[in-house]
């Protein structure tokens, strides 16, 4: 079974595991009891993971410094995989892929076509959800890499729900025939795969060249949904033109904008405290002036040393009242201060990925009149 399609309880030898080091450092590993996972914080023998439940924190003392270091070991999901995967191309991120899947109503009943495979990020999300995914990749090295990866992840195999095909769909269309470079294993008398897709996702520089070929592989007796993923607005324009020409309707282009927020704290600094601080500074300044004057006077007048204890206070100290910890390094959330919870958007936001152009098609708008009559008659006879 695929580690992506089955919930696993404990980590076993040979499992694909995602090691969470930090938010932007998640590494896939294949568990091997002879191996060690190295980070700059310390080394974690795979042995420590085996038998532990997924989600476990693995903690060590580092050799040299004897510091506490840890990682978390997670079971892969398509969304975590997207955060960790090796980029072969620009990838489709979860805000886009999740919207596309929801808008095209993806479920175990779905038969989906995806071109191109790219880094396989969206393929994993599709594979988790749909009945079958037909993925196409035109770039030979990327095709081979994706095929190997999908096999390793248990997505491509007999009984599995992903088929990947090496193909320039813009030139050669979507039909998968015996002899093509594809992961599909043809049966004895099988000459062509019956794709019958009801969901189509095109992540291609020129989707308009691929759209005319879709007729060969889409389902004819139901509503089919399509999404084109294009970075530039001019691509959208050309896509709309061709979609209209080929009988797709209900066109709508949308953008998805995703933002992530950090949870932070800001010190609550009251006006009263700020004023009191200034008052204190002023007081001390005046005291300092007077003290200096008195010292000067006493020096001149040669008075007794009775006052000395009072005067010995260092005159450099400006203020003792320091409600905001100025000058010190105050840690956010320090219990000695009051804090207000605030959100902060990530410093760099993904302000644009691509435009999503949706369209739909019901190829054969016909009904079986006889079947309707039969149903009506049978219900009347009841």
């Amino acid at each position: 079974m695929s580690v992506f399609s089955e919930y696993k309880d404990c980590i076993a030898e040979g499992d694909l595991v995602l090691v969470w080091i930090s938010r932007d450092n998640i590494k896939p590993i294949k568990v091997d009891s002879n191996e060690v996972f190295n980070t700059r914080y310390g080394s974690f023998p795979h042995e420590m993971m085996i038998g532990k439940p997924y989600g476990s924190q693995i903690a060590i003392r580092t050799k040299g410094t004897n510091k506490f270091a840890f990682i978390h070991v997670l079971q892969p999901t398509p969304e975590l995989w997207t955060l960790s995967l090796p980029h072969r191309t620009q990838i489709v991120y979860t805000p886009d892929s999740s919207y596309i899947m929801e808008r095209l109503n993806c479920s175990p009943r779905t038969r989906a076509v995806e071109a191109g495979t790219g880094s396989g990020s969206f393929s994993h999300a599709f594979a988790r959800t749909v009945g079958h995914l037909y993925s196409y990749e035109f770039h030979q090295p990327r095709y081979e890499e994706a095929l190997r990866e999908f096999k390793e992840h248990g997505l491509v195999d007999i009984d599995k729900n992903v088929t990947i095909t090496h193909r320039d769909v813009c030139r050669d269309g979507f039909r998968i025939r015996n002899g093509d470079v594809t992961s599909h294993l043809f049966g004895e008398n099988e000459t062509e795969v019956a794709v019958g897709a009801d969901v189509v996702f095109l992540d291609l520089p020129a989707p308009w060249d691929a759209i005319p070929h879709l007729e060969d592989v889409i389902s004819k007796d139901e509503k089919v949904g399509l999404c084109c993923f294009s970075p530039c607005i001019e691509q959208v324009d050309k896509t709309i033109e061709v979609l209209n020409r080929y009988g797709w309707s209900d066109l709508q282009m949308v953008e998805i904008q995703g933002k992530q927020f950090e949870s932070r704290r800001q010190m609550v600094r009251t006006l009263d405290d700020a004023i009191e601080r200034l008052r204190d500074v002023k007081r001390r300044k005046n005291e300092g002036l007077e003290r200096r004057k008195r010292m000067c006077d006493s020096l001149l007048n040669d008075q007794p040393e009775a006052d000395e204890t009072v005067e010995k206070r260092p005159i450099t100290e400006k203020t003792k009242f320091n409600p905001f910890g100025k000058g010190a390094r105050v840690k956010e959330g320090d219990a000695n201060y009051k804090w207000k919870q605030v959100t902060k958007v990530e410093p760099e936001i993904k302000s644009h990925t691509s435009y999503l152009t949706f369209a739909f098609k019901v190829a054969n708008q016909i009904r079986n009149e006889e079947a309707i009559q039969r149903i009506l008659e049978s219900s009347e006879s009841k």
Partner: protein
Amino acid sequence: MDPLKQLAFDQHVILRLPSGNRKIVQLKPNSSISLGKFGAFQVNDIVGYPLGTTFEIYYDGTHEPDLKNKNRTPIGKIRLMPRSENENAERNQSPLPAELANVLSSANNQQLVNLGNDVQGLSTAQIEALKNQTASGEEIIAKMIENHGTFDKKTVYSQEKYLKRKKQKFSKFFTAEYLSSSAMLQFLLEKGDVQRVMDMSQESLGMLLNLANIRSNGTYLCVDETGGLLVYFLLERMFGGANDTKAAGTIVVVHENEHPNLDLLKFSNYSDAFIKDHVKTVSLLDFFEPPSPREVEAAFTPLPKDQVWSLKAGKKNAYYRRLKWYNNQRQIISLAAETEYDALVVASTLHLPQLVQRLSASVHGSRPVVCYSQFKETLLELAHALYDDLRFLAPSILEIRCRPYQTVRGKLHPLMTMHGGGGYLLWAHRVIPAAEPAAT
């Protein structure tokens, strides 16, 4: 007929009207459905066509006037909408709708002086008469353009705006769509039930389903204050509307009131039996203070079947009552104390830190915790609480917004106004903290 592909009898479907509004209807055999100013039609006339088909309602003058109720919309006939009309955008290169092809237009509105309704040559009475005759929406609009005093003084842009407005007013067509969870959400939002659905949006829910890794064969713990909408989203993702699925998968709904509220599921096309199999409910009290297994087992012991059969009628009834109680108690114990869930999904207005932290005790390691809230501030409070709790990995607050465009060639731009809101998500993973290893 496959009710997931074709319009089927007794199915709930959602109709899209020319105004852009939606309406949920049930396709009862031999009944009719009225769409008000957009006409009325016989259910039997549309059943069997693919879901997503657009139909036009037309009147050929043969319909019987309703003598009892003159205001009642007469039932028209149905034909398939010709495809060229059945589109938001134009098919051909020219961005000009057919209706405007033979009409003069101005380069700008410079000569146009606003005279209100006076420029429309047809009186309201004349338009009403047209409507009651055989005239289709298109014919009425064509007549109105013909009789419009200053139509040629308008720019093409203004002419198109006029045309669109009139089409929305006089066209009689509708599209019958599958009632997906997103369509139900859209319907409720348009209906004004924004608070009821906690201001959710399709994009936030789509993100929630993916982040929570929802799929068939999972067992999910869920708090749903929307009356079943969130549960419907989960069901659709898990089973795709199919009653005959072989897939396993369970949603356990924890509810705040004595009885759960999943009313919206009655519009779904899942059978009662299917829902009973795949959706379990348990109150917060029962979940956090389940009966003790020992006491339950002490109170009742199921009998072997043959012994039950031999019971007398009165006793048999009492036995079955007790058995039902026993099974119910067993189920509560199982859901509350013996299940490690594959995700926690929350949409609740309860104070989230307490709720999420305590429910998460039942979530398996490495599984996602996803919480929807209408307000970012409540998730912020939750995020800080989860940060301080070693059982949660990397809580993040997310905002997802969809921005739809007017998708017409030559006039592409984002919609000018949109419904605000859409809520926020918190995403974290349940993890299992390790004891700090002893210093070596």
